[in-house]
Structures are given as C-alpha cells and as structure tokens.
C-alpha cells in the first residue's frame, strides 16, 4: 500500500525527478478572491482533481474581492498564506514574485500549453520568468435583453451611431431603462465603460503598446474619444444612477427593467441563473460600418505557488493539472464567461458564452489599457481612470480635461511619458 502511494505520487509529479518525496497525505490550501466560485471549486474542480490524486487534498478558501490584495499581502508577510495563490494579472502579482513570495514556474511542464500573450499577465517585463499558470480571461461587450429589443423593434447595433439610436429608442419608449450601469462603485465606469469601448478607438494592442512606449499620449484623439462617448452615456443610465451600485445594476437588468447591460463576460453564469428572458450579446460598436472591431479580452485570473509552501511537490502537481485541458474544460463549462487561456480546444455549451468567445475570431483582442506597467506609480492610472470615467459620465469634467488630468498624473512618474 505504502509502495503504491509512493509510486502514484512519483508518476504524478514528473518534475520531481529522482528527489525523494514524502508519501504522506498532502493538504493544499488555495487563496482566491473568487468567493462567487466556492461551490464550483468544491463540487466540481476539486473532486475531479482528488479523484486522480487521492494522496493530495485541496481546500479552496476565498476572501472578498476588494480586500484580496490586502489580505493576501498581510498573510504572506505573516507566513500564514495558503500553498496555492490565485494571481491577479500584472503588477500586484509581479510585486509578489519580485519579493520572493511566488515561486518561479517557468519550468512547469504545463506551461507549454499557453501562448506568450496568455502568459503576459504573469511574466516579468522581459518575459524571462513566468510565475502563475494562466487560468482565464474575461471579454467585454454588451449583454442585451432580446425580448426588449423585439418589443421596441430595434436591431443589434453595429456602429456607434446605431448604438445611440437604439438607446434613444428605448428612452422614448419609456418602458425600459436604456442601459443599466451606475457610478456608485466607480470601477464599472472604467472597466465596463472606458476599457470596454476604448480599444475600438485606440486600436487595441497597437495603441496600448504605443502608450507604454511613450509614442502616444492619453490626450491623443484615440484616448479622448472613448471619454466623449462615455459623456453621452449619462442621459441613458436611468434616474439616480449616481447612487446605483454594481449589484443594483445587475438586478435592474436581470429583472428585465433595463435593455442593455455593459458587461464583462463573468456576468454570464450569474445572469443565466437570474434572468427569465432571452439574452444576447454584442461587441462594442465600431465608428463606421466595416471598421475592424477590437475587444477587451483581458487576462484576468492566474494561479501560482506560495514560495514558502511546505508542500511544493503537491502544489506543482496541482498546478500542472490546472494547466491541462481537463481543467480548462471543467472550468470553462462550470463558469461560462471565464474563457480558458490554454491552447487546448474547449467546447463551450453556453450560447451566450459562445457568442462572447466567437468575437475572438472576427475582432482583434487586447487587454485593459491601464493594467500592464502603467499602474505602477502614484497616482495609480487604473484608479484615476475609474475616477475620470465617473466624472465624465456625470458631466462633472469634460472628456478633454479628464484625459489631460490622467496624462499629467502618468507623466509624474512614468519616464517614457515625460
């Protein structure tokens, strides 16, 4: 019996080579901010893993999303963090890696299943080391109420002009709030607003890389134009949107009181459970018919190893499994809207999720503009963008002033922009 266990573990952790493994039951704890996913981890993902690796038991222990970074950093400092760490993309995780908190996973066998773009969220700036296994990306766009569209007799908008015509039609009709979004929690305005519609104007990766290189400025037309569009949104967001929270917006839409919801694909599973009307999705409308469309296909979740873990072998085994197509399939289908980043083919059963992922075929993908490198200093460009997007939607600040303020803030600490 003892011998068999040893053999199983040995086979599973091919990385180990000839090093001696302890054939005890290893327990792994996962730190995550996805407390919404607790049931899926407990009912589907962990049992599937434990069925193959009976010698390893896994516990999923999430904390609240907004506090995750703070909680995780404190736990890591105190040495009480779990073995497996769910990684936010870019700087937050990079800082942990540079501080020696996250183990280098460049040599992990499963890493070969991911493209460089997929790994970019969790690699050093020069790409030489990768420290988290890419798990999923989220795609931005708009989810709409198909029944409402039929009732009012409007078609899915392809261009910006059509988009505002649709909103205007709903406003005139008066039975639906044209668009469900509030500015109370601030991040929606930037994440579902600015970074959702923006890539069409700054041409996705082209503009994003140029901004990082210092060749474009936030005051250039491509970066101000999305603010101009946001400034027009305010009129269609419904009464009192200033105090409307993120859950309020979700409820307004799923109760059928609003026609369009500026979305991230992570909403899909929640909306499927709540809405009793048919939903569709469209990508951010382009300026002129026939223009190339760009979407925000943002690398959102990775998973890595606490460098101080007491069970490195078991952790490596687990991470290798996360990199497998088996995990991708379970994950993508239990959580429609979190799209796997691995090269393996994954069949999606959810039609709405399928619609979102189909845009990868016809549009150019990019990630959120403020995430890589540009939010390293003070003031933090991402948090400033939240604030500026809200101010523009509420009409407190003109698009040009907001762009100028962001540019000034960025130039304070980012050398290529000075």
């Amino acid at each position: 019996m003892h011998k068999n266990t040893f053999k199983g573990l040995f086979l599973a952790t091919t990385l180990l080579g000839a090093s001696a493994a302890t054939a005890q039951q290893a327990e792994l704890t996962i730190e995550s901010w996805r407390n919404d996913d607790l049931a899926i981890w407990q009912d589907k993902i962990i049992p599937a893993f434990e069925a193959q690796h009976p010698d390893i038991s896994v516990r999923f222990t999430p904390s609240a999303p907004a506090e995750y970074n703070a909680v995780l950093n404190s736990k890591l400092d105190a040495g009480s963090a779990g073995d497996i760490i769910t990684c936010r993309p870019f700087d937050a995780s990079l800082a942990l890696f540079e501080a020696g908190r996250l183990a280098d996973l460049s040599d992990l066998e499963g890493m070969s299943n991911f493209s460089d773009v997929a790994k970019s969220g969790w690699s050093t700036d020069d790409g030489s080391a990768t420290y988290c296994v890419p798990m999923a990306s989220v795609i931005h766009g708009f989810i709409y109420n198909k029944d409402a569209f039929e009732e009012v007799g409007v078609a899915v908008p392809q261009t910006e002009e059509e988009f505002f015509a649709v909103l205007e039609a709903f406003k005139e009709d008066g039975n639906y709030i044209p668009m469900a979004m509030g500015t109370n929690d601030q991040w929606e305005a930037a994440t579902m607003g600015y970074n959702n519609i923006g890539p069409n104007y700054w041409k996705g990766e082209e503009g994003r890389m140029a901004l990082i290189a210092g060749e474009q400025k936030l005051t250039d037309e491509g970066w101000v134009a999305p603010f101009r569009q946001l400034a027009k949104w305010g009129a269609y967001l419904g009464d009192g949107f200033e105090a409307q929270t993120y859950p309020d917006s979700q409820n307004i839409f799923t109760l059928g009181r609003a026609a369009i919801y500026p979305a991230g694909s992570w909403e899909i599973s929640g909306f499927n459970a709540l809405a009793d009307f048919e939903m569709g999705a469209f990508h951010p409308p382009v300026q002129n018919a026939g223009d190339t469309c760009y979407i925000s296909d943002h690398t959102d979740i990775g998973i890595g190893m606490n460098a101080a873990t007491e069970n490195p072998e078991a952790a490596m085994t687990f991470l290798n499994w996360v990199a497998s197509s088996e995990f991708s399939n379970i994950f993508a289908n239990s959580l429609p809207g979190f799209f796997p980043l691995s090269k393996a083919d994954v069949a999606l059963e959810d039609p709405l999720a399928q619609e979102f992922i189909s845009w990868r075929g016809k549009c150019e993908s990019s990630i959120r503009s403020t995430y890589q490198i540009l939010s390293r200093g003070t003031p933090n460009l991402e948090n400033e963008t939240w604030n500026a997007s809200v101010a523009v939607i509420k009409g407190d600040e003109s698009p040009e002033d907001a762009a100028q303020r962001l540019q000034d803030g960025l130039a304070l600490w980012y050398t290529p922009q000075q």
Binding site: N69, F90, A92, A99, W187, G240, A243, N383, V390
Partner: protein, 307 residues
C-alpha cells in the same frame, strides 16, 4: 535579620495588574510605537531604509498626497462639525425630555433611541444605503407620499450631499450615547437645588437653562471629546457605505479610508505600509492635539467654574 520597618512588598498588585498591562502593551502600546517607527522608513527595491521625516514631507508637501490629505482632513472636520451641531444638541434635548417626570413610556423611547448604537455599522451602512437607494429605496416613495418627491436626490451618489448624508446617518446611529450620558447627569442633579430654584421662581425652561445646563457642562465636555476622537478615527461607516474609494470622487474620503487605501493598497494600487503609517501618525497627532486642547484649555476652566 530583615529590618522590621521595611514595608511588605504588595505582590498582589503587580499580579492583578499584569494581565491588563501585558495585553494592553501587546495590542495598543507596542503597535502604536511601531507605527510611529514605520513612518520613518521607506521601501526601496525590497529594502527597508531609514528616511527620517521624508514621508511626512511627501504627505504634506507633495501635490498628489497633500491634496488627498487635506481633502480627507477637511471632510473629517465637516463630519465632526455635523456631529457637534446636530448629534449633541439633539442628544441633550432628548435627555431633557426623557428626564421630565411627566413623560409617559420614557423607558420605551430611551431604549428605542439607544438601540441603533448597538447595531453593527455594517448593518447601519447597508440599511441606509438601501433606504436611500433611488431604485429600491423607500425614501423616494415616502417623499412622494407627502408630495415632496421633488426634494429627492440620490444623496449618496452626489458629491455635494454624500458626506453630509453619511454624517447624519452616523448621528442617527450614535445619538443615543450623548442622550444616555446627559440623562445620567441630569438624574444626578440633587432635587434640593431644583426645589430651591423653584422657591425663587425658576421653573420649566428657565430651570433647564439656568440650573441644569450649567451643572451638566462637564458631561457635555466629555461628550465633545468622545465625539472628536470617534469622528477623527472614523472609518467603518464610510467604508461600509461607499467602499475604500470613498466615492463619489473622494467626497466622503476621511483620514481613516485614506489610510486604509494607502496602507493596504486598493485594486491595482499596491499597499505602502510606510506612507500608511505616516498617515496613521498624522491622525494620532491630530487627535492628541485635540484632546490636549480640551484637557488643558477647556476642562480646567470648567473645573474653575464648577468649584
């Protein structure tokens, strides 16, 4: 042979004090001094280096930091002012009413008004957020019912109202504390004094203004200091209702939320324990100055007045 005159060492005092002293040192005194110490360092390339007062220079001198700091301090001051102008007078008025012997059901009113103070700030924050919500809240409907719908605003979402609204929510929650303290003070006024006043023809309202109020001034002073300390340490209600970014547009940002964001980090912004400690030290300094001003400036005069 020991000298017979040597006093016996009273070990029991040390033994009984030890648990409190140890716990208090571990959770209050040590962290306080460690925070003050952390504020004098900065982290550069994963190394903690001594920078002296440079963090404070950044906090007060650097445009980005000082703008946030003064905004937060100003909001704190406004928060405190509303409590002083609304909470404490209402608390005194309620206590005066409750101590009136002719009021029926006073025990019921006393409990009803005191209950919110024992509620968790999370419950209070979320409950009021729901009540005032433009979408689900009962506030628009209630105003509509009395024909005042035009007065309704998304109060928590507008820069000009949000802080005042939250201050009033906090007043609603904590008005029971000054009420109870003043109530106790009013009850402790000897009847002889009031009766003597009555003989001189001082009754009703003038008895309150001329006899009771001067006698409860020390209690009012204590309440003011408690309010000051609580308000400049405030964090919970703002965080529960508006989140760490203290929206809209930082209009409800107070030193507590500013410190939280800086110390622990928020969203993509990484935490900076050293700047966070500098803010915490500044908060400590402000409260220390406030309390000292009260102790040496006001309480001494109150005592002179009393005796």
């Amino acid at each position: 042979m020991p000298a017979p005159s040597k006093p016996k060492t009273r070990w029991h005092i040390a033994v009984f004090l030890a648990p409190a002293v140890l716990v208090y040192t571990a959770v209050m005194i040590y962290p306080l001094f460690n925070t003050l110490r952390l504020a004098l360092y900065a982290e550069v390339d994963q190394q903690r280096i001594w920078v002296g007062l440079q963090n404070f220079q950044t906090l007060f001198g650097d445009a980005i930091w000082s703008e946030q700091f003064w905004n937060a301090l100003g909001n704190n001051a406004w928060f405190f002012l509303i409590h002083m102008l609304v909470q404490n007078p209402i608390g005194i008025a309620l206590a005066a009413l409750l101590s009136s012997p002719r009021l029926r059901f006073s025990a019921f009113y006393r409990s009803a008004i005191f209950i919110p103070t024992i509620l968790s700030f999370v419950i209070v924050g979320f409950a009021w957020k729901l009540i005032l919500s433009p979408i689900w809240g009962i506030a628009p409907g209630m105003l509509d019912a009395i024909g005042l719908k035009f007065l309704y605003q998304p109060w928590l979402g507008k820069e000009e109202y949000a802080l005042t609204t939250l201050s009033l929510v906090s007043v609603w929650q904590y008005v029971g504390i000054p009420m109870m303290l003043i109530y106790a003070a009013l009850l402790s006024i000897p009847d002889e004094i009031l009766e003597a006043g009555e003989c001189d023809g001082i009754t009703g309202m003038s008895a309150f203004w001329k006899i009771k109020l001067p006698l409860i001034l020390p209690s009012i002073g204590i309440i003011s200091v408690l309010t000051f300390v609580a308000n400049f340490n405030a964090f919970d209600l703002i965080y529960a209702a508006q989140g760490a970014l203290a929206g809209p547009d930082f209009s409800t940002d107070i030193l507590g939320t500013f410190m939280y964001r800086t110390f622990f980090g928020f969203q993509l912004q990484l935490g900076d324990p050293h700047m966070g400690s500098a803010i915490a030290s500044a908060m400590f300094g402000i409260i220390l100055i406030g309390v000292c001003t009260y102790l040496f400036g006001i309480q001494r005069r109150l005592r002179n007045y009393q005796f």
